[in-house]
Amino acid sequence: MAVRVVTDVAPIESPPISSRAGVLAGLAAALLQNKKALAGLVMLAFFALVALLAPVIAPYDPHSLQFDPILRPSPAHLLGTTSFGQDIFSQLVWSTRQSLLLAIIAGLMATLISLAIGVSAAYLGGVADHVLNLFTDVFLVIPTLPLMIIVAAYAKSGGVAVLIAVIVITGWSYGARQLRSQALSLRNREFLEAARVRGERSLYIIVFEVLPNMTSLIVAIFLGAALYSVLAAAGLQFIGLGDPNDLSWGTMLYWAQANGALLAGSPIWVLAPGICIALLGAAFALLNYAFDEISNPALRPVKKTK
């Protein structure tokens, strides 16, 4: 029998959280101390700022076709112009808005659905659990590319709504499994039993006792979903699923590819949006790793002692 005597002292290796702060504040402090998190936050903040200040930063109207096509980068056109005569830099800046919004909105929706299904499966148990798991597994296994092609064939008017729908449908199942696992492992923790014995209602327990203990995982899943959204959105727009008249990095790639940008001698048209997609994705990925490290000290990098 496990007579495991617990430390009667605060653990030596606990992270340096100020004693009066709440858990959220503690999390914020831990984030700021983590290099990966800082890098990710800086990048994300940068893109958010650009998106916000697009009208100010972009020198020209991104749609305007008034310039000479395929100009080299110059002080007048920092990144040159497209085959149609649009300023690439202005396009890039304005595209930040849609790309960022897509990532966050699709990421949030996918996370919410994962949460609802994962936690319900854990708490309803029995037949409901089996059904929900089956449902999750089916979606996990659906190949995304054929699905996208099918949807593209059926969606007459494309647009952001269809994009988000496809991303969410293909993206929620991954998180659902993890959330279910964690909810299950929490289920037997004694403080939940204490809440039950105290007389709390089940819904109260799930919302106020279980979910707050899952915040770390929920945020990590959101970040993962956002990362997936960035890449999936870009991919979908690249194959023409979105509205080609939208301003986003993916559509820039679509037009660049349609006009043979690389062959025509303006590789910047492809590189610029490509790099932005990569950077935004990296921002989410870095934050994701940072969260994993914070919630699981075993993953933290070990400082090399001499």
Binding site: M1, V5, D8, V9, V302
Partner: protein, 319 residues
């Protein structure tokens, strides 16, 4: 009296985790065939001390100063190759929870084989013979060599661990709370078995536990640790019959008895200090019922009373 060289000698050992000092200048010695018990509550550093002695520390823990001499050899400076030569053959370790230390997907026999082969090149037939011998030694039918850990009871698992530790008949066996995962009856049984094996094979033993009463009848010498330091060390019967350090007597007084009259006990108020910021002077002074003014500023050295060393100003030589 012939002075025999101690099997293990620890001198002023200091172990730190980053800036926290988990073991603070601990010195002790174990004679051949002697049973030394190290007793303390959680956070006192006893497990860290054990790991340091066995060279099992992993970063960020590290030995900062002091030395550990095993059979005259300096353990701290040995490299991995030399260590492997000494490990298991001359000293071995029994961990706290067999379920954690045993591989759940390998049979006991396979694990014994692994242990043997890691340290010596033996023919398979010899390995088999030795495995059966050592299982019988700990009171398990050798047929269980084919069993998986989950098929054995808790007590039998612990015995398998001990069998593994004895496979090369080492001179020293280090045990970290090997009985705490067992129920009372199995605990008693295991302790008797360990004592019997010790008499038969003659190894010295260091036994770390939080349960003072468990070792009272089995150990030759007893060291009481608190907040990373040894507070009292001496022959078991002397420490038990007359605990001198206020912590030792407080600890002993925390065990309700099943015999004798029922009496109210006080335990020890407060809790062990945060090792990142230990109290100045004597580390026990905030909780000590016999605290004196200078205990708060001056750290007591060891004083001797008969064969017992006590880290307490109450026993300063001029008293």
């Amino acid at each position: 009296m012939i002075a025999t060289r101690p099997v293990l000698e620890v001198n002023d050992l200091v172990v730190e985790y980053g800036s926290v000092r988990a073991v603070d200048r601990v010195s002790l010695a174990v004679a051949p065939g002697e049973f030394l018990a190290i007793v303390g509550e959680s956070g006192c550093g006893k497990s860290t001390l054990l790991f340091a002695i066995a060279r099992l520390l992993s970063p960020p823990a590290r030995i900062v100063s002091g030395d550990v001499h095993f059979q005259g050899k300096d353990m701290v400076t040995l490299d991995e190759d030399e260590l492997r030569h000494v490990r298991w053959r001359h000293y071995s370790v029994v961990m706290q929870s067999a379920m954690n230390a045993l591989n759940p997907v390998l049979t006991i026999g396979a694990q014994l084989r692994d242990a043997i082969k890691a340290h010596e090149d033996m023919r398979d037939s010899k390995i088999r013979a030795r495995s059966e011998e050592v299982m019988r030694l700990v009171g398990i039918d050798p047929v269980h060599l084919k069993s998986f850990p989950h098929q054995l009871s808790g007590g039998m698992r612990q015995r398998s661990m001990i069998a593994m530790a004895l496979v090369f008949t080492p001179e020293l066996v280090i045990m970290d709370e090997p009985t705490s995962a067992l129920d009372v009856v199995a605990q008693r049984s295991l302790m008797l078995q360990i004592k019997e094996l010790q008499k038969k094979i003659g190894f010295a033993a260091i036994f770390v536990t939080h349960d003072m009463s468990l070792v009272s009848h089995f150990s030759d010498r007893l060291a009481v640790m608190y907040a990373g330091q040894v507070m009292e060390i001496g022959p078991t019967n002397k420490v038990f019959s007359d605990p001198k350090h206020p912590y030792s007597s407080g600890l002993l007084g925390s065990f309700p008895s099943i015999r004798g009259p029922r009496q109210a006990l006080a335990g020890i108020p407060g809790s062990p200090p945060d090792l990142a910021h230990p109290p100045p002077g004597c580390r026990f002074h905030p909780r000590c019922p016999q605290v004196m003014p200078h205990c708060k500023t001056i750290e007591p050295p060891f004083y001797q009373r008969e064969d017992v060393d006590i880290r307490c100003h109450l026993y300063a030589d001029n008293r």
